[in-house]
């Protein structure tokens, strides 16, 4: 049987992405569809991730499936030294689908190769988190009406930000223009700049984050600048508030601008932005539910009317 697992956003074609987003739209219209009645989903969270786990488990519940699993490796037999393979083989005896978060990079690919049932990657270390990317794409499509020809401003930690890198790869199908806005220490890694050049994706780079730069944006994708990423703490103190978005900075922004953030937010978006209709990060998280319902149905080969 064809392995229908979802491991990496890079495995998805443009057509596949668009078809999944269309299915997600159907779930937004009606999220409660008992398409998975009688099915069991294994939710294996080898590292805690409350937001992602609740979203996947809610998706499973709204589809009528039952959920088994654990939310922390400490409560699984991984803490007794069981290998990932053995855990996967055991759970696949019980479940029709495995949703897995693991701290090791490549764990989801490996699980998908050994598991008799499909696997959805809910994050494998710093590597991939395809359901996050899909909900980012869904949010962009829904707020802009298209994924094509958009100016996307990526702000903050562009060096370690997994969501940023996956979004960049996924958008290659849709002719974007990127603007990279980050402190020197957290610049976009060279391999992604090479990727943009190879795919004829125009981009600009700056360390400035101000009203003028925001004025061009269709999407402002904010990320957290984390203290622990800096080797030089003096440098952190200097830049930590430079990438903070306030409501006043949105005065000249385009009417269609929407602000995205993978959450959790700390102080990079001021609270006064929350009431601006251009703030979209909470709805963005909600879109995760519809997207995950679509992904679950897709890997199980279930058509959604």
């Amino acid at each position: 049987m064809e392995n229908r697992s979802l491991v990496s956003i890079n495995d998805l074609s443009r057509e596949k992405i668009l078809s999944l987003l269309e299915t997600a739209g159907k779930f937004e219209e009606n999220p409660n569809r008992r398409l998975l009645a009688g099915k069991v989903i294994g939710s294996l969270f080898f590292e805690p991730s409350t937001r992602t786990r609740l979203s996947f488990e809610t998706a499973a519940n709204r589809l009528g499936a039952r959920v088994i699993g654990f939310s922390d490796a400490a409560t699984s037999s991984a803490s007794k030294g069981e290998t990932l393979k053995d855990t996967i083989m055991m759970v696949s005896n019980y479940a029709d689908l495995i949703v897995m978060r693991h701290h090791l990079e490549g764990a989801a690919r490996y699980a998908s190769e050994i598991s008799p049932c499909p696997v959805i990657n809910a994050g494998d270390g710093a590597n991939q988190h395809p359901s996050q990317t899909m909900l980012d794409l869904y949010s962009i499509l829904k707020t802009q009406g298209t994924l094509e020809n958009l100016h996307i401003h990526l702000v903050g930690d562009l060096k370690y930000g997994r969501t940023i890198h996956s979004l960049l790869y996924a958008m290659r199908h849709f002719n974007p223009t990127f603007h990279f806005i980050s402190p020197e220490e957290l610049h976009m890694p060279e391999e992604y700049r090479i990727f943009c050049r190879e795919n004829n994706i125009p981009f600009t780079e700056t360390t400035e984050f101000n009203e003028e730069i925001i004025a061009e944006a269709d999407i402002l994708y904010m990320t957290r600048v984390q203290r622990e990423r800096f080797s030089d703490l003096m440098e952190y103190e200097k830049v930590k508030n430079c990438y903070r978005l306030t409501n006043a900075m949105l005065a000249n922004s385009k009417p269609n601008l929407r602000i995205l953030h993978p959450l959790p937010r700390v102080n990079e978006i001021a609270y006064d932005v929350d009431d601006n209709p251009k703030a979209y990060y909470f709805q963005q998280a909600q879109n995760g539910l519809y997207v995950r319902e679509a992904l679950i149905c897709d890997v199980l080969g279930i058509d959604v009317e």
Partner: protein, 153 residues
């Protein structure tokens, strides 16, 4: 033939394989890649031999051993221009050049300590991304690395 003459400088081989034109500094990596230390037949290893092409080179002669393509192509990772001469009855009957593998399975360690292959009892797998620069990509953690920097398992 020049290769034959050089081979004879070391010792004559009746049947087996002569691996020639190994850059001197890669000789021992090639020895390990071909698992020479576990062989029981007669093996001659030449180190820092004079070479017009390379300056100094390494050479390995293995009696009564004929390598498979898979074994041969392993060498491409460290020494892409190596030539293998198959010897039968003191004559070179075949010359083979190594080819860069598209997939490298099981003998290269992933440099990413957080990669699943370094933490689970499993095989590694890499894909060749760019032949010219020697860039390979881990099938699992998707990190790219250069073959100059690899560690063998």
């Amino acid at each position: 033939m020049n290769t034959n003459k050089e081979a004879l400088q070391v010792s004559a081989l009746c049947n087996g394989t002569v691996i020639d034109h190994i850059p001197a500094d890669k000789l021992f990596a090639v020895v390990n890649l071909l698992d020479i230390p576990s062989m029981t037949t007669n093996v001659t290893i030449g180190y820092n031999l004079k070479s017009r092409k390379l300056g100094t080179k390494g050479l390995i002669k293995v009696a009564d051993k004929f390598f498979t393509d898979e074994e041969v192509n392993r060498i491409s990772l460290v020494a892409p221009n190596v030539v293998l001469n198959t010897i039968r009855d003191y004559q070179v009957v075949e010359k083979r050049e190594v080819k860069m593998l598209d997939e490298i399975a099981g003998f290269v360690k992933c440099p990413n300590p957080k990669c699943v292959t370094n933490n689970e009892p499993m095989s590694t797998l890499f894909h060749l991304v760019d032949k010219e620069s020697g860039t390979i990509k881990c099938h699992y953690c998707e990190k790219e690395t250069n073959i100059e920097n690899i560690t063998l398992l």
